[in-house]
Symmetry: C2
Subunit: 178 residues, 2 copies
């Protein structure tokens, strides 16, 4: 499946609806992937994103050490993969192999793009002032890729305890704003 | 419609799927409501929530001055109200009157609960260290109310430029985690 660059000014339209993302990280020869729902947009251009990661997560150390990650947005077809990734640790298994996730090289960061996800956002950590207190990282999206499909794919939203809500119908309303 | 207290440990299940919220604020004799999608969970208990508000918003000043707000979660039936609220400023009109939103008293904060919303989360600002730089407030949910209905209502997720995705089907998968 072919992907194209997404204009950085359009990134917020993918993240602000609150989809589960798969975060890839890489530091030296260690690479990992985790599921995450605790993220939000902070600014439009450049696109800034806040996200929260527990210091109990293996990915926390990789993100803190490397200062880079990729936010990959999966579609509903990957829901079992997302739950699998969210229920084991990269410290004890190679999650890419276990869940058949294909790594592709990113252009601005060392963390890999996940081929199976319809969006990949290459990010650099730009503010760590609230990392110690809340695990809150502020990321800048430096490059974004999106699959070239005609219609918007269905993403999933975590509601806790293994419950997800899948995207339903789209509604377009007149708006004067972004 | 009757509402009941929601255990604070369950609040994350309502916010992490990324619904649009209506934020009410009150400072002295000024009260306002705005639509917001830029929020995320930061911790489970007590429930901490990050949210971003532009200093161009009237609500920004009320939130900063009062240190309190209510996050009200609307259902899809209120989508036209949400868009209306998001497209005008409380500086030039009374949005409660204009959009027929009913204020009810909260128990812990001065900002009102919106009767028409199925969830109301009373919040206090607990950290303002990134407000000046990013408009990022950290809130603690001190009390939460949810409508007593059997099934989960449909929330809406903003995708920019007046496009919304409505909750679709629910999927429950085995999970070892929260």
């Amino acid at each position: 499946m072919v992907k194209k660059l997404i204009p950085l000014s359009e990134v917020y339209r993918l993240l602000e609806p609150g989809p589960v993302v798969l975060v890839t990280t890489c530091f030296k020869n260690e690479t990992n992937v985790m599921a995450m729902s605790w993220h939000m947009m902070i600014d439009f251009v450049p696109p800034l994103v806040g996200c929260v990661m527990s210091d109990q997560n293996y990915s926390y150390r990789l993100l803190e050490s490397s200062g880079e990650c990729v936010l990959n947005i999966p579609t509903v077809e990957l829901i079992h993969t997302v739950v699998g990734v969210g229920n084991c640790s990269g410290e004890t298994c190679n999650k890419f192999e276990k869940f058949h996730l294909t790594q592709e090289p990113a252009s601005q960061v060392k963390a890999p793009l996940l081929k199976e996800c319809y969006v990949n956002l290459e990010c650099k950590v730009i503010d760590t002032s609230l990392v110690k207190k809340y695990g809150l990282f502020i990321l800048e999206v430096v490059k974004g890729w999106v699959r070239t499909t005609r219609k918007r794919p269905l993403t999933i939203h975590h509601c806790g305890k293994g419950n997800f809500v899948v995207d339903g119908k789209m509604m377009k309303l007149p708006s004067e704003k972004l």
